[in-house]
Symmetry: C2
Subunit: 271 residues, 2 copies
Amino acid sequence: MAGELTIVGMGLIGASFALAARQHFSRVSVLDPDDGHVAYALAGSIADTRVTEVPATAEAVLLACPSDHIAGWVVALADHPGTVFDTGSVKGAIIDEVEASLGAVPRNFVPSHPIAGLERSGPEAGSADLFLDRTVILTPVTATDPARTERVRSWWEATGAVVERMEPGLHDAIYARTSHLPHLIAFAYLLGIADADLAHTGGGFRDFSRIGGSDPDMWTAVFGRNRAALLDALDTFEMHLDEFRRALESDDLDRCRVLIADARTRRERLG
Amino acid sequence: MAGELTIVGMGLIGASFALAARQHFSRVSVLDPDDGHVAYALAGSIADTRVTEVPATAEAVLLACPSDHIAGWVVALADHPGTVFDTGSVKGAIIDEVEASLGAVPRNFVPSHPIAGLERSGPEAGSADLFLDRTVILTPVTATDPARTERVRSWWEATGAVVERMEPGLHDAIYARTSHLPHLIAFAYLLGIADADLAHTGGGFRDFSRIGGSDPDMWTAVFGRNRAALLDALDTFEMHLDEFRRALESDDLDRCRVLIADARTRRERLG
């Protein structure tokens, strides 16, 4: 069993991690400015105690706070003896910001990203099986202590997650394509939908546009932090959109069919 | 009770209509070149008999065949004593094609569009409750016999559907925005997704891209028939996509947040 776990940010992810992994830690403390979230965590035995600074005794420090606060915490905890890991959905920008501030990434920091549950929020939405069979990506850099990377891997595995390592830049490019771009598309699409259209939507619209209901603050931060990779993904998407436009404008339905069949094949590989 | 129903095209929609409405007809006959679909319908008591031409005695003729065959059937049945109605998801092009061929729309034809079940196919996927609480749009034109429009309304209502009347052009513009454009977007998006990306997808991707697995022949026909309205909807979408691009390129995150919040508000109105 590991020692004390401190969770910075008691939202959906922080609460779920505590619920899923708490038997692996001797004690769980929570640091969050939101009194309601902390009260919920203490009342529900998600955490044992509230702290206002990260205890020097913490063996594990999970940064599950909004992503624009993560780099600041990594810098502040650079000399902390525990192992610091985060849940931010963009890795390169956090690493760059820490490097810009300290000149190097602290060896106690293991960048990590659980792929789970981004539409809901708050500790009330937390659950012990949020990470079960889901992927968690670790993007350690050269400076990262390998022993700490293995510790963070074992903690995520304790939640039932499947852990994978990846370069931060590759991580950000892949998630720009598979997560950030679909959100941007859904938002842009919804801007063209009038109230009168909403009575004429089916299951396809509902599923397609569901991610368009996601939190503006969170997604503004994600878009801002992964700007370059997101713009690259947008370029590719607009190129393919233009192929459809040209096929339609020239009434080239054979070309249209080839494009649709190719798209369907890609979707079917997902199973 | 009405007399004989003939279903032209024994797929998902034809089978579901027969299952949902058959107690309102004295007899159900099926016309389809696919021996397997017909055998399934007869074995499952979805239809009573196979025909190779529409019987002169049919009181109701449902055209549930591929949409590029609908206008041809309407023309061929222009002098049929029964009431002809269809299931095509684009109305203007069918009406235009019939008018181009006959000079006018036959008074026995009631254009209709059930909003249901476009991702699955085949009579095996049919069910008696496919239309329950779903919308069916009727787009009668000036030439259409009002008594027949009311009859078609009652037949669709017998399936549990909610029936609404609309101008054909308005119908096509609305469904270009709420159904055809999302399919085009999902197809274009999937063209930019590599196999290696598929291991890094979450529930958001899965729902967002689900309609990208739809049938190429069907959607090529829909896109071709609703080209003008679809290109209009695509213009609007690309305008909003460009607003996001400019906000990102200029690092204007406040603008980005306003756009996302507006999109979310629209999605929330759907409930």
